[in-house]
């Protein structure tokens, strides 16, 4: 256990203490205690920047299940550090914000901070784990804590619905990720990511490579809300706003991005990876930005915008994979895509976090998040407005904010795609920049909606629940810090380039980045195509924003019932309905049906096995000769048994059954088993008497008229089938006798060893006495059971006695 392990473990430990702090210090907001930890962790992690800058990595090991090769290996490199800083940094800001957002009196703060700390620890574990099983454990922990946080206001129906939906989708992805991990470990014989990377060349040719790739991607796409698994994210907006800001914009949804980036060195050579990641990203980008425009809820817009931006990052990661095919290229233009992805990852966390906090402030101060009710808040909330402008303009990609830079780099990468000549990109490549450009136009439009709809226009006081006013200063600190970062990173992007971005890119593309590689983000890079594209975005965006009410109708072209949400809801309903109808069909509650299935299965499985293995064999060589009286006795048994079926009264059936039993005892006599014959006689008599007893106590109902058994064809067929199968098996078993019986041992030793002449009895009480003991216990249990059933009547009427 190193300090790094304690750092990841510390949120879990604090989560244990939080409820006690909450109970003990009722006067102080619990968030203040919690705030200390992420700040400490942030300073702890920022110390590593100087290390990773030089390309060094930190590895720490703690053993967990060494026999299975599962160790809690933590591995801190550029990518891990970037995420750890995001998690702890934004975590601190979010906790600070939540202190002012959540009321000390009304809210269950102990639960909130426990869930949040669980999430923070789990997320740190995800990004620092080198062992895939450990990564998966933390991965599921994030799903679980996200579920708890979304359902935080669990008295609301929408919260529960959103929590359930997100859990179902992310756990579905998590399980397929586990499948991918297991396939990877089968291929590489290790769970360690670094070892898998070192043998990535050999893994490519393995037949399990593509299934593993697809399963891992499924896990990443569900977590990162990629199309078509994005539907859980808008419903997760029922969570408290700090949670939305933290989980659903800055950290958890980037776990999938992290996974794709982390496993890029393993998979990225493959064309499947390139296509899946970049196409899924582009579609998500387009669909997210397109859907965001029609939302009327501020958080809904931000949710779809998160989806779209995640798609942007994902598509850049996919394009970055193309760089691997050009390692001889002097100036590798496709590597720029990876740089852009990492840069936008940071930018998105800053501006989206601040925008969510702004949305929270508006909600908190006006009582609504509906943009149709909001308007004219600019004069009332000037600071919030400033933060919103910075965040939204950065999201739209306007200078001088950081979003401008990453959007430029994104467009540049998309234009570079046109020069690709692998994977049929000559024909399809043109799709990339076009989709990206259209999506950027929509991004511009919804960014304008986010900032202009609530803050400009007319103030509609009668629609608002509260009288709006500026938020308390504590609530504003976090968004102001984030907005400052947006500007700082926008004006001085090279603060990040060599310290954080380069080590992170080096972890994603370890074979391409060497010491010569320099990340340089220039604000002004000449009149390049991407600049013209940005200008086009702004111009078209402004025109479309102004005319929005006129083309709003296109959103009605896609009716609600064809949406993915409807598909999910109907799918879930159909699944439940079909499962319950299958249950109703199979589980009728009638024993007759169950017996039918059991016997049918018996016939089919055994019959098929006999046929398939060609097992039936008839060898008449070891048959004993059949005597006349044996035939007569057999005839008696057969006639008796058949007549039982056709007997009209039950009493006749009982008598016939007794006759059959006595004849069986006669068979025992004929086949020289005196003990069996004796026992059989006595038992038969007793059971006939018992049958009579049962018969006597049958209620005399009109419906229980004594009738001959009704004939059913399928019952007859099945009973004949069972009889045939058993006969066939008995005949083949007899014909296939492979060994001599061991009975000669008993015959020789019964008197010598055990001192008894009756071999059957010696076997029962001496050679195999244990069986007899338990037969005795069976009989005693039966006797006690009968006694209890007769005497004990807890529910019944008062007994006469």
């Amino acid at each position: 256990m190193s300090l790094l392990h304690w750092a990841v473990l510390s949120p879990f430990l604090l989560a244990i203490i939080v409820p006690f702090l909450y109970k003990l210090f009722r006067q102080i907001h619990t968030g203040w205690f919690v705030l200390i930890l992420p700040v400490l962790l942030f300073t702890y992690f920022s110390r590593f920047i100087s290390l990773t800058k030089q390309g060094e990595v930190i590895t720490e090991r703690a053993t967990w299940i060494p026999s299975l090769g599962i160790h809690v290996d933590f591995y801190l490199d550029g990518l891990g550090l970037l995420f750890a800083l995001l998690i702890t940094g934004i975590g601190s800001l979010v906790i600070l914000y939540s202190i002012f957002y959540l009321s000390k009196v009304k809210e269950k703060l102990n639960q909130f901070y426990v869930f949040l700390l669980l999430f923070m620890g789990a997320m740190l574990g995800v990004v620092l784990s080198d062992n895939l099983i450990v990564l998966y454990s933390f991965w599921e922990f994030t799903s679980l804590s996200s579920f708890l946080l979304i359902g935080y206001w669990n008295e609301r129906e929408r919260s529960r619905y959103g929590a359930q939906k997100s859990l179902l989708i992310t756990v579905f992805g998590g399980l397929s990720l586990l499948g991918g991990i297991i396939l990877l470990s089968i291929m590489g014989n290790t769970f360690s990511i670094r070892e898998l990377i070192s043998q990535s060349g050999e893994l490519m040719d393995h037949p399990l490579f593509t299934p593993a790739l697809l399963l891992v991607l499924l896990g990443a796409f569900t977590k990162s809300a990629q199309f078509p698994f994005h539907i859980w994210l808008p419903d997760a907006m029922e969570a408290p706003t700090p949670v939305s800001a933290y989980l659903h914009s800055a950290t958890m949804v980037k776990a999938g991005i992290y996974l794709v980036a982390r496993l890029s060195p393993v998979f990225a050579e493959s064309g499947v990876w390139f296509w899946c990641v970049s196409i899924a990203g582009l579609i998500t980008l387009f669909w997210g930005s397109f859907s965001a425009v029609k939302q009327t809820d501020l958080k809904g817009i931000l949710a779809f915008s998160t989806i779209s931006q995640l798609g942007l990052i994902m598509s850049l990661l996919g394009l970055g994979a193309a760089a691997l095919h050009y390692d001889t290229l002097g100036e590798n233009i496709y590597l720029a895509a990876t740089v852009a992805a990492v840069f936008h990852l940071i930018n998105h966390a800053t501006f989206k976090g601040s925008l969510f906090m702004v949305a929270g402030i508006i909600d908190h101060e006006t009582g609504t998040r509906d943009i149709r009710k909001l308007g004219g808040l600019m004069q009332l909330m000037p600071i919030t407005f400033t933060v919103a402008v910075i965040g939204a303009f950065s999201m739209a990609g306007l200078p001088p904010f950081n979003g401008f830079l990453s959007k430029e780099m994104f467009l540049a990468s998309m234009v570079n795609v046109l020069e690709l000549d692998i994977f049929n990109m000559e024909t399809w490549g043109v799709l990339f920049p076009v989709l990206a450009w259209v999506a950027s136009v929509f991004t511009f439009i919804y960014s304008m909606i986010v900032v202009l709809k609530p803050f400009t226009g007319k103030l509609q006081l009668h629609l608002l629940e509260k009288k709006p006013h500026e938020a308390p200063i504590g609530m504003l600190i976090s968004p102001i810090i984030l907005a400052t970062l947006v500007i700082v990173f926008g004006i001085f992007p090279n603060l990040l380039s060599s310290s954080i971005i380069k080590p992170a890119v080096a972890s994603i593309q370890p074979n391409l980045v060497d010491s010569n590689f320099q990340v340089h983000i220039a604000f002004w890079h000449g009149f390049s195509p991407e600049l013209w594209m940005t200008i086009g975005i702004i111009v078209i965006g402004i025109i479309l924003y102004k005319t929005f009410p006129k083309w709003k109708r296109i959103y009605q072209w896609l009716p609600e019932r064809f949406s993915l949400n409807a598909l999910y809801d109907n799918g879930l309903n159909a699944l439940e309905r079909s499962a319950s109808s299958v249950m109703k069909f199979l589980m009728t509650g009638s024993i007759r049906t169950y017996l039918l299935s059991i016997f049918l299965f018996f016939i089919l499985s055994l019959g098929f096995a006999l046929y398939w293995k060609d097992a039936f064999k008839l060898d008449t060589g070891n048959f004993a000769p059949i005597g006349l009286y044996e035939m007569v006795l057999a005839a008696i048994i057969v006639i008796g048994s058949i007549s039982i079926l056709f007997a009209k009264s039950r009493l006749t059936s009982i008598i016939l059954l007794g006759a059959v039993g006595y004849t069986v005892s006669l068979f025992f006599v004929l086949f020289r088993a005196p003990d069996l014959a004796l026992t059989q006689l006595v038992i038969e008599t007793i059971s006939v008497a018992l049958f009579l007893l049962c018969f006597f106590h049958l209620p005399l109902l009109a419906s229980r008229k004594e009738e001959r058994m009704t004939f059913r064809l399928n019952n007859a067929l099945i009973s004949i089938g069972v009889g045939t199968i058993v006969t066939l098996i008995a005949l083949s078993a007899h014909s296939n006798k492979l060994f001599d019986s061991i009975s000669s041992y008993y015959l020789e030793n019964a008197y010598k060893e055990a001192g008894g002449k009756n071999v059957v009895n010696v076997i029962l009480v001496d050679f195999r006495g244990l069986d007899t003991m338990f037969e005795i216990s069976v009989l005693s249990i039966a006797a006690l059971g009968i006694f209890a059933m007769i005497k004990l009547r807890l529910t019944g009427r008062k007994d006469k006695s």
């Binding site: 009286y629 008696i636 008796g640 006759a659 006595y662 005196p674 004796l678 008599t685």
Partner: protein, 94 residues
């Protein structure tokens, strides 16, 4: 010769069993069947005795005694059941 006689006797008894079985199945009333069952029990005694002579063993003599007792008890039980509707009477019911 003796062996053949024994086999003939066994066959005869077995055939008479079939006759009783016919009565047992067909028997218009329950007492008919009970009597048939009782006779079958005695027939069984005969078969067991004959079989033990054929097999030249005395291991089945207990079975003969037991059969005698049981067929008696069984017939009495049936008779009582037919008469009173119950085999073991409960004293308190009286």
């Amino acid at each position: 010769m003796f062996d053949l006689l024994l086999k003939i006797a066994l066959l005869g008894v077995s055939l008479s069993m079939i006759g009783f079985l016919y009565r047992l199945i067909k028997g218009p009333s329950v007492p008919d069947r009970v009597v048939a069952l009782d006779a079958m029990g005695i027939n069984l005694i005969a078969i067991v005795a004959l079989a033990s002579i054929v097999m030249d063993t005395s291991a089945y003599l207990e079975a003969i005694l037991l059969l005698g007792i049981l067929s008696f008890i069984g017939t009495v039980a049936f008779a009582k059941f037919l008469e009173k509707g119950e085999i073991i009477e409960n004293d308190r019911d009286r």
